[in-house]
Amino acid sequence: MITTGNYEEYMAMHADGELQPREVEALLAFLNEHPHLAGELALYEQVKLQPDYGTTYAQKDTLLREEPARKIALFTNWRTYSAAAGIALLLVIGGVALREQNKTAMPAAIPAADHDTAAPVDSVPGAEPSVTSVDPAVRVAFVKAFSQTPVVRDVNRKDSRRTATANAATTMPHLALEPVTVAAVSRLQTAAPNTGEPPLVNLDAFELPEISAPVKKSWLEALPVNDLKKQGLANVGSVIATGYEEVAHLKQNISDKSLTIKIQQRKLILSF
């Protein structure tokens, strides 16, 4: 209901174009009843502002943008990758070095396995008469007596294995098979008759060969490179080990801690 108390509100809304059709009809009916207020409606229509289209923004070009090129981040955690690559490289180098060391230590081991081409131990020049002629019972007793020595173990093996041992003896003197003479076997038979008990063995002037422990060499020393490069590799290994310890120490220090970052009104809490 439009009255003299609220007609200005309707006139303002009419100027704003916010009246419904029936409200417009009601306003026009009110003005028919109060024609002296028609001029006021014209004033409300007049105070509507008109945009000045001549005013333009001259610096549009400064506002234009281009989509930033997307950066494809490869190897974001390159430190991890490089550390892993370094460790893998060291492992490969170490493996090659160990392989070379093994080849150097036992060069005749593989050829000695060839039974057909290797000479039997009996035919070794200068060797004492063959041990194969010894009585089996005596041989068992002999084995029991010298079971702790490599010499006896080699005696107890089959002929084919003995052949390999003979060849290896030329390259590894500390494992050389001592010849068992007929005289020694005869003494053994005499001293230990077949009573069921293990015979007592007494060999004159028989000394067990001394087995010298192989000298442990660092894999780094076995590398087929010069000393300068070995020193360099040692330094790299030391640096990697030091870095790993520092990272482990840092990780241990930051455990059970939290970091709070405040950005304007928001807090970012990082817990470790």
């Binding site: 916010e18 105070v47 000045d52 333009t56």
Partner: protein
């Protein structure tokens, strides 16, 4: 909104935004800053703003910045736009209305500009200014009445 949509907004809306900011702040320099900042905000939030709602978003940002700028500087004088830019056949009436507009508070002035310059409805203005529709209706009514009274007083003087 992609970069292409943003650039279309620049070409289509920067003039209207500049006119609104000029009248709201009363200073072309401040209006320039308002336009720059408004489009910067739009660019930063372009992923969250749909292309169809970019205009309302821009005017919302510009409205807040204009009101803040005006309040911060506490301007009393109102900088007039150059005379040659007027397009209406009655420059006298436009000048009177500009002066009358300068008498309004910064919020009422922005409401009138959003209504008259951009043709937004009460509901749309309420969304842009974070006011209720009833508040927009009341503020605009008061502003219209003040403009009308100013116009009548000037006519009496002339």
């Amino acid at each position: 909104m992609e970069a292409n949509d943003y650039n279309i907004c620049v070409k289509q809306l920067s003039d209207a935004l500049f006119r609104f900011a000029c009248k709201s702040t009363g200073s072309p320099d401040d209006a320039h800053d308002v336009v720059q900042n408004s489009f910067e905000v739009l660019w930063q939030k372009r992923k969250d703003v749909e292309a169809g709602k970019a205009k309302a978003f821009l005017f919302q940002v510009a409205y807040r910045q204009s009101v803040d700028t005006y309040r911060r500087k506490s301007r009393i004088s109102y900088v007039e736009v150059p005379e040659q830019s007027y397009a209406l056949p009655d420059p006298g009436l436009r000048k009177v209305l500009d002066n009358a507009l300068a008498q309004l508070g910064e919020q009422a002035r922005a409401l009138v500009l959003l209504k008259d310059y951009e043709g937004y409805s009460y509901e749309e203005i309420a969304r842009i200014t974070d006011l209720t529709e009833a508040q927009v209706k009341v503020y605009l009514h008061r502003a219209r009445k003040l403009l009308k009274d100013y116009l009548i007083s000037v006519e009496h003087v002339l």
